[in-house]
Symmetry: C2
Subunit: 113 residues, 2 copies
C-alpha cells in the first residue's frame, strides 16, 4: 500500500471490506493495533496500513499509551456518507409513495366496479 493510499476520501476509505471490519471492531470501543490484529486475523502491517488510510479520512483517531497505540472511532466523519445516502432514502420513499398511491388507485377502481 503506497503512501498515496492515504487519501482523505471517506467513500474510498470505506469501500474496502477489511477497513469496514476494522471500523466495526472499533465500535466496541478503543482498541490497540494488536487487538485488532487478533480479532480480525489480519497481518499486523495490513492493519497498520488500513488504520493509516482510515486515519487520513478522519474516521479514526489515535492516542499513545505506553508502547501501544489505541485507536478510536470517529463516527462523525461518516457524515458525508450518511448525508449522501439519506437523499436516496428520500428517493426510496417517494417511489414507495407512488407505488402506494397506485395500489390505492387500483383498489378504488376495483371497488367501483
Amino acid at each position: 500500500m503506497p503512501l498515496a493510499a492515504a487519501t482523505p476520501d471517506v467513500f474510498k476509505a470505506i469501500s474496502e471490506a477489511h477497513r469496514r471490519e476494522i471500523l466495526d471492531a472499533l465500535m466496541a470501543g478503543e482498541k490497540a493495533v494488536g487487538a485488532i490484529v487478533t480479532d480480525l486475523s489480519l497481518s499486523q502491517p495490513q492493519v497498520s496500513k488500513h488504520l493509516r488510510v482510515l486515519s487520513a479520512a478522519g474516521l479514526v483517531s489515535c492516542r499513545a499509551e505506553g508502547r501501544r497505540r489505541l485507536y478510536r472511532l470517529e463516527p462523525a466523519h461518516l457524515r458525508p456518507v450518511q448525508e449522501w445516502v439519506a437523499r436516496y432514502e428520500q428517493a426510496m420513499n417517494d417511489r414507495m409513495d407512488r407505488l402506494d398511491g397506485y395500489l390505492r388507485q387500483l383498489q378504488g377502481q376495483g371497488e367501483r366496479q
Copy 2:
C-alpha cells in the same frame, strides 16, 4: 475499465465520484446515456462503463427505447450502505449522549461551587 470492474460490490460502486454523480443525475428520473454524457461532461464510453458497474451492483436498471437505453435509479439497492452507516449514527448519538451527560455533570458541579 476491464470487465472485472463490474463487481457487484455496492460500496466499491459508490466509491467513485463520477459514479455518484451519475446516480445523482438519475435522481431526477430516467435518463438516456447521451443525456448523462452531456449533463456531466463525461465521455460516452466513460459513462457506459460506469453504468455497467452501477448496473452490476444493482444500483441502476435499464430499458431500451428505440436506439436509446434509458437508465433508472434503483435506490433500494443502496440499503446495505444505508444500514451500515445507520449503525454508526447510533454510535454518534451514544457519544453525544455521553458528552451531554458530562456537560450536565460539569454544570452541576459549577452550580454547587
